[in-house]
Amino acid sequence: MNNADYKGLMVFAEQREGKIHPVSYELLGKGTEIAKRLGIEVSAVLLGSNMGAEVNELFYYGAQKVYYFDNPIFREFDLLNYKHNIARLVNEVKPETLLVGATHLGRSLAPRIAAAIGTGLTADCTALEVGDEGNLVQIRPAFSGNIFAHIRTTTRPQMATVRYKVMQKLPRDPKRTGEVIRKDADIVDSVLKIVEKQGTGGVNIAEADVVVCGGRGVKGAGDFALIQELADALGGVVGCTRPVVDDGWMGKEHQVGFSGNTVKPKLYVAVGVSGSPQHLAGMRDSDVILAINADPSAPIFKLADYGIVGDLYEVVPKLVAEARKRS
């Protein structure tokens, strides 16, 4: 196959319970920017069931074409049917680039598509650029964010998963329209059976604008009330480090770091957090970082915009009072 046969940029539109995941809109935003530079078209591929007017949202955020597979089998994430149908579509439409959100679903699905169609895949990109020959330069952190690798793909499509909350979506414009191309699903044996679905019922800290994170400096599970108080005063949610989860003080959904959640809030407050490389990997892209720690040599201070050296049990109540006074 000749690389020149591949044209256009395609975004995988992820949906959960009939609602399109915002990372898909971010990819359409970035995709539109790249497509304008190269003079190519931006399309989306959507697998769902009775999505109704939600399909149009993809146009409002920049898609010019939507390939829509409408089938009950796609209501939930059916791995093998998702993979099979997207791989078929890609082989038919031949996009030059295929972008997938680096959600759990995307990071499970994209490698299978890449292996199935025989193309390269770059994981968890935080930046995409257009190279000298019009190729996609995929930039991603590795080694816990200590290095950034610039990667190109010699095969087509150039596939990448892209981290959520890194790219900018276009302003929603309901005047934008496009073409819906309905595709028939080719159903294979699902093999995997989802027997139960549980919500964690908890916070989604990856979405929060303000995260107040408690670490080892917090001396007991009950003391997280103090962290909660500061989070409330700042209009945010509570996060924690891995040892806090290991001790059973907080649920996993609160954990920030390499083996937990990656967050990118407008304000990140690290309270009693020393700043291990694993923790920093999960929050280093926050807009503003405030660190409160008794140890002036704690690594977290190197990454902080603002730091307070002091006993968190003294500092946090004062900060809560100041925040309340000003709100």
């Binding site: 499970s108 193309t119 816990s144 964690t200």
Partner: protein
């Protein structure tokens, strides 16, 4: 009885590894190699299943000759057999070529019921190799598994994390799981286990040994569809780094002032 395969990778100790900012490279000699921490959870999950159902655990790795120490370490931690894919043909592989080589090694091994992988590696951090192996072998996979609910020699039921959702998923065997750190706490090898592993043979397979199950041109750098253009080692980003010491009252006021100036306090929230 259940035969389990655990693909493992040797990675540098992340606490010690040094980065050469000027040359834009990782100084791999700065830290000793160890089994990728996520793979230890995969190995522990496999050993626990073997203890429950009977069977075998085989680890397989691809890497330079010194990766043998990590394969040996896996034997001390409960694996029965260890295989290292080694040779210059495998060098420079991206995730596509790596997963292809490991899947080829697994094909050569023959019968297996379950493959358990770590969620990702601490160095590459892609999480792609597990699902790609499953695709090469045409078996299903379940990613982000945090708990094994039930297992028999015909099927497995697991809890998988999908951000704010948790799914209970059933899969027939053979299947592949990628497991998170929450699934267990890996045991430490005993002295006796370490001694036994020291004497064990690690089988080394070169590309030629895989000739009957693989296209050799898919191995290594030659088989890799992605290429590293360059590596950039960022100097710590330009944060303000304003640190307040002294009285908590004073520091709280100053920080609140700064946050207010940024519109993060006192504005319409």
């Amino acid at each position: 009885m259940i035969d389990i395969i655990v693909p493992i990778k040797q990675v540098p100790d992340m606490e010690r590894v040094k980065f050469d900012t000027e040359a834009g490279r990782i100084d791999r000699s700065s830290a000793a190699g160890e089994i990728n921490p996520f793979d230890l959870n995969a190995l522990e999950a496999a050993v626990q299943l073997k203890e429950k159902l009977g069977g075998t655990v085989t680890t397989i790795s691809m890497g330079p000759p010194q990766a043998e120490t990590s394969v040996r370490d896996s034997l001390a931690r409960g694996a029965d057999r260890g295989i290292l894919l080694v040779g210059k043909e495998f060098a420079g592989a991206d995730t596509w070529a790596t997963s292809y080589a490991l899947a080829s090694g697994i094909k050569k091994l023959g019968k297996y019921d379950l493959i358990v992988c770590g969620e990702k590696t601490v160095d590459g951090d892609t999480g792609q190799v597990g699902p790609e192996i499953a695709e090469w072998l045409a078996i299903p996979h379940i990613a982000y598994v945090s708990q094994i609910r039930e297992a028999s020699d015909s099927g497995i039921t697991v809890l998988a994390e999908m951000e704010s959702d948790r799914l209970v998923i059933e899969s027939p065997l053979p299947t592949l799981l990628t497991v998170t750190k929450d699934i267990n706490t890996p045991r430490l090898p005993s002295f006796a286990d370490k001694m036994k592993a020291r004497k064990a043979t690690i089988e080394q397979w070169g590309a030629a040994e895989l000739a009957d199950v693989a296209e050799l041109t898919n191995f290594g750098l030659k088989g890799s569809p992605t290429r590293l253009n360059k590596v950039v080692i960022p100097s710590e980003e330009g944060r303000k780094g304003q640190v307040f010491r002294g009285s908590p009252d004073d520091a709280a006021v100053k920080v609140a002032d700064a946050l207010q100036a940024l519109g993060m306090l006192g504005s319409a929230k």
